[in-house]
């Protein structure tokens, strides 16, 4: 009906079969059709980073990504991070003051996850580069960088402990 396309999206390991027009962005599909509102809508033109999700592990602005293109890929939203217990990145953001209003937070946590999955011991410059696509008006970024450093340190410590 009315040009709706059947699509199948794999979000946080769960399959969602939806009907949507072909121009529906992944952001819209996640929020309005699937009902995962943890992914935030702000500028809708790829400038602010609030709508960041992971597609096959890479941080992507879901407002610039068509839902139809995301088929067959692994989509991770904030709801898929730390489902059972909070992820260390989430803990570090809270404990180090990396969260104020919280609107940029889900996107930043996913960007951090993507960074630390690839680069477990990032330099301060690498951290800043990794989050340069994310605007935050509350924190001035300082405590966010500190939170990411803390998360990297804690993850390294916990990783070495469990390995050893």
């Amino acid at each position: 009906m009315n040009g709706l396309l059947p699509m199948s999206l794999r979000v946080n390991g769960e399959r969602h079969d939806i009907l949507a027009p072909p121009w529906r962005t992944l952001l819209e599909a996640l929020r309005e059709i699937i009902g995962l509102t943890g992914t935030k809508r702000s500028c809708q033109e790829g400038q602010c980073g609030t709508c960041t999700v992971l597609i096959d592990g890479k941080a992507v602005n879901s407002c610039l990504y068509l839902a139809v293109e995301a088929q067959g890929k692994d989509i991770t939203t904030i709801e898929g991070v730390g489902k059972e217990h909070l992820h260390q990145i989430q803990k570090s953001f809270v404990q180090k003051g990396g969260v104020q209003c919280g609107f940029c937070t889900p996107g930043l946590i996913l960007a951090t996850k993507s960074l630390l999955d690839d680069t477990p011991e990032p330099s301060e410059d690498q951290i800043r580069e990794a989050i340069v696509g994310h605007l935050c008006r509350c924190t001035g970024y300082i405590q966010i960088v500190e939170a990411i450093q803390d998360a990297a340190r804690e993850m390294a410590r916990q990783g070495s402990r469990s390995d050893g």
């Binding site: 989430q90 003051g97 969260v99």
Partner: protein, 778 residues
């Protein structure tokens, strides 16, 4: 225990993670755009394409016929009552009726089954306009022949503030050096990432509910009632999580709020509105751009003798809180330096631009930028170190300013000493390589304002039978940490843990009425109210415990969720057990109430005299920069700030507020500018409206925030304002550092690469002309 034993606090003074952080990091915090109600429709607003026009006729028939459109409203569907902040400057309408005054002003609204349909319908609404002459510059707008925006405002004067304390003529006559400058500031947007959003409902009993991301929900509640012409009791405003605010549209009722509820009435369905970022940047609500003329007289030792300041503010098409904005900037010129003679005249002028109001620091940062920039030129002329000249003029505890501010605690000298030390000022100043510079800037802020209308705050504390505490206030958490610090205060008084306290978001049917969240008032005013409410609850518990334990209530200590007698610690009962005992056997519910009103003092806004706040905070900021002469780009290489926030109740949150405010003002100093041509915003996108990025910040090792700890007797547990004030000196600090780096003073913000590049070029030309003329002379 007395407040002087501050090191004995169990909770206060230690860094506590934000309570709602756990919801926010997992995507569970529900912001207004995350609300989806059954049957909900989506609204969109039609905006004026003209800066100034008469609305001759509106035809909605084609739009109404579009499948999926459920209702349309125009200005005539509202009662035509103007609403706003101050009684004498109410000029907002929910939708324009017969005239539009700026590009982007709301003229109609559609509710449809989805956003796409609503947007399509906007294109089908036909509005016939008769364009009127428009005026965009405030100086032109004050000319006799200029187009008039509002009938009530002759000469387009929307707000005015003037005062004169001491005698500036005498002060200038006594001065050894007099300096005059003009500074200009730009329109700045709040830049919160969550666009304004709301969901309105109107049930068949006539009860109206608005779920929305407001910073001051009770302001919205009153304004909705005013604009709809109904009793506030019929309206319920429920606050969602707020994704950043910094004042502006989240402080007031906006057209979308009115349209959501009226369209809900027409359709019988919930209606949601969410602005696009384009709309957020196009509509009003921004910091006042100002032209600041400043004349200052000093003695050769650098002490101020007189200051005369004239401000022309481009107010845009409507008033917002603009009358107060004009007063506040001038009033705060009295801090943090001693000024025996001061004269101030400010005009806020209506123009056909988006309107201006409050934004983090209100009009204080602009004034501090002018004052502290000029102070450095004076210091240079007198051969004084910039920090030294500030010390020589520093206001001291116990002072009363010319305009009647009574200064209690004020660790300004220490702020200066601490930033000088942290930044390596003495080593660096005058010794940095070419194109590198270091500068200082200072400012002050109030700890909440005594206003003409509603000033006081209230709080309620209810202790549940599991020993948990339900804390209700009329204050909101907008990310600044009110949820946490107010809970910490309650927990400290009651001897429980912060996690035991649940902070209730504002719901006007449930929470105590409150003026709102602005002017750095929450920790101080609501914090005092929470302290008293918790003490009230503790008193009730103490009576129960005395009865149950057979001890004197005076001897009871509340700690670790227990109540015990300090004379015999074996006589002990848990808070939980106590509450259950009181409920079960006496039917007594433990509910404590507290209020704070900051005394009976009144401020005379007409004369400008009076003590507006119970306490004031000074701050000092040192910034180090490097300028690329090839591009004009400024890199901030270090930031060191010190502020006297009294006793910082939650140092983690104070640090976040201070740094956030500092970086926001770096944005104003260097990057941000809402560019408007004939009233049209040319950069309504976060791509072109440049806010600071993570890579614009110095290395962590070169960023420091220092709490200068004083003990404010009237603050809750010694606390004062924190964060907002720390941004007030940043603009001048950056400007002074840039001057130190390049030797050219920019008196206009932002100091963008093009302006710096051309300023450098002009200076090079001047220098080479001087050189060639001196060669010719030989």
């Amino acid at each position: 225990m007395g407040e002087e034993f501050r090191n004995e606090y169990n909770i206060l003074g230690r860094p506590v993670a934000k309570k709602d952080g756990w919801l926010k990091v997992s995507g569970q915090a529900e912001y207004a755009d995350d609300i989806f109600l059954p049957g909900m429709l989506h609204g969109k607003l039609l905006r004026s394409p003209h800066p100034h026009a008469r609305i001759l006729h509106t035809d909605i028939s084609k739009a109404a016929a579009l499948p999926g459109v459920r209702a349309i409203v125009t200005g005539k569907d509202f009662p035509g009552i103007k609403y706003g902040n101050l009684p004498q400057t109410r000029d907002y309408l929910p939708l324009a009726i017969d005239r539009v005054r700026y590009i982007g002003e709301e003229v109609a609204a559609v509710a449809a089954i989805d956003e796409d349909t609503a947007e399509e319908a906007l294109d089908l609404i036909q509005v016939e306009y008769e364009p009127l002459p428009a005026v965009f510059d405030p100086v032109e707008a004050m000319q006799p022949e200029a187009p008039q925006l509002h009938e009530h405002a002759a000469g387009n004067i929307s707000g005015h503030s003037a005062f004169h304390f001491g005698d500036v003529e005498v002060g200038f006559a006594n001065s050894d050096y007099i300096r005059e400058d003009i500074f200009e500031t730009q329109p700045l947007k709040h830049g919160m990432l969550e666009p304004h959003a709301c969901v309105g409902t109107w049930d068949n009993t006539g009860k109206i509910t608005l779920r929305t991301c407001k910073m001051s929900p009770y302001v919205v509640w009153r304004q909705l009632a005013m604009g709809l012409g109904i009793e506030p009791g019929r309206i319920r405003v429920i606050q969602s999580f707020v994704g950043g605010a910094f004042s502006g549209g989240k402080q007031e009722a906006m057209p979308m709020d009115f349209c959501a509820v009226l369209l809900a009435k027409k359709t019988g369905r919930p209606v949601k509105f969410v602005h696009t970022m384009d709309e957020v940047l196009t509509i009003g609500h921004m910091r006042h751009p100002m032209r600041i003329w400043l004349r200052t007289g000093v003695k050769t030792d650098g002490t101020f003798q007189a200051q005369h300041c004239k401000v022309t503010a481009n107010g845009g098409a409507y008033s917002s809180i603009g009358q107060f904005s004009m007063y506040l900037g001038g009033a705060m010129l009295n801090l943090p330096y001693r000024l025996p003679n001061i004269k101030y005249e400010a005009q806020r002028v209506y123009t056909n631009n988006g309107f201006c109001g409050a934004l983090r620091g209100h009009t204080i940062p602009q004034i501090c930028y002018a004052r502290d920039s000029q102070l450095d030129t004076i210091a240079e002329h007198l051969g004084l170190d910039p920090i030294e000249i500030r010390h020589r003029n520093a206001i001291q505890p116990g002072d009363t300013t010319s305009n009647g501010f009574r200064i209690t605690t004020f660790g300004f000298d220490e702020c200066l000493d601490r930033v000088a030390e942290a930044s390596g000022w003495r080593k660096k100043r005058g010794n940095l390589p070419k194109y590198r510079g270091i500068g200082v800037g200072c400012g002050s802020l109030i700890s909440g304002a005594r206003l003409m209308g509603h000033s006081a705050s209230a709080a309620e504390v209810r202790i549940q039978e599991d020993g948990s505490v339900q804390l209700t206030t009329g204050s909101t958490d907008v990310g600044q940490g009110a949820d946490t610090v107010l809970s910490m205060i309650a927990a400290e008084v009651l001897g429980v843990e912060v996690d035991d306290v649940r902070f209730q978001r504002v719901d006007t049917d449930i929470t105590p009425v409150d003026p709102g969240t602005f002017g750095s008032r929450v920790t101080f005013w609501t914090g005092n109210a929470v302290k008293r409410a918790a003490e009230d609850a503790r008193g009730q518990l103490a009576q129960l415990a005395a009865q149950k334990l057979g001890v004197d209530a005076q001897d009871l200590v509340f700690r670790n969720r227990q109540v015990f007698s300090q004379k015999d610690q074996q006589r002990c009962v848990s808070v939980k057990e106590l509450v259950r005992w009181g409920e079960f056997h006496l039917g007594q519910v433990i509910t404590g109430r507290g209020a704070y009103a900051a005394g009976e003092e009144l401020i005379n806004f007409r004369t400008g005299f009076g003590n507006i706040s119970p306490a004031y905070t000074p701050s000092a900021c040192v910034v180090e920069v490097e300028v690329d002469p090839g591009t004009g780009h400024v890199t901030i290489t270090g930031i060191w700030g010190a502020d006297d926030s009294g006793f910082p109740l939650n140092p983690l949150a104070v640090k976040g507020q201070v740094l956030g405010s500092t970086v926001m003002h770096i944005g104003q100093a260097l990057y941000e500018d809402l560019i408007r041509i004939e009233g049209k915003v040319m950069n309504p996108s976060l791509r072109d409206y440049k806010m600071p990025l993570s890579t614009d910040m110095p290395k962590l090792a070169d960023v420091a925030h220092i709490n200068v700890i004083t003990w404010e007797p009237s603050g809750p547990f010694g606390a004062k304002e924190a964060g907002e004030g720390a941004g007030t000196g940043v603009l001048a600090a950056v400007a002074n550092a840039v001057y130190d780096a390049i030797g050219v003073r920019l008196k206009r913000l932002p100091m963008s690469p093009d302006r710096i590049f051309f300023a450098l070029k002009q200076r090079q030309n001047e220098l080479s002309m001087q050189e060639s003329s001196s060669i010719d002379a030989k």
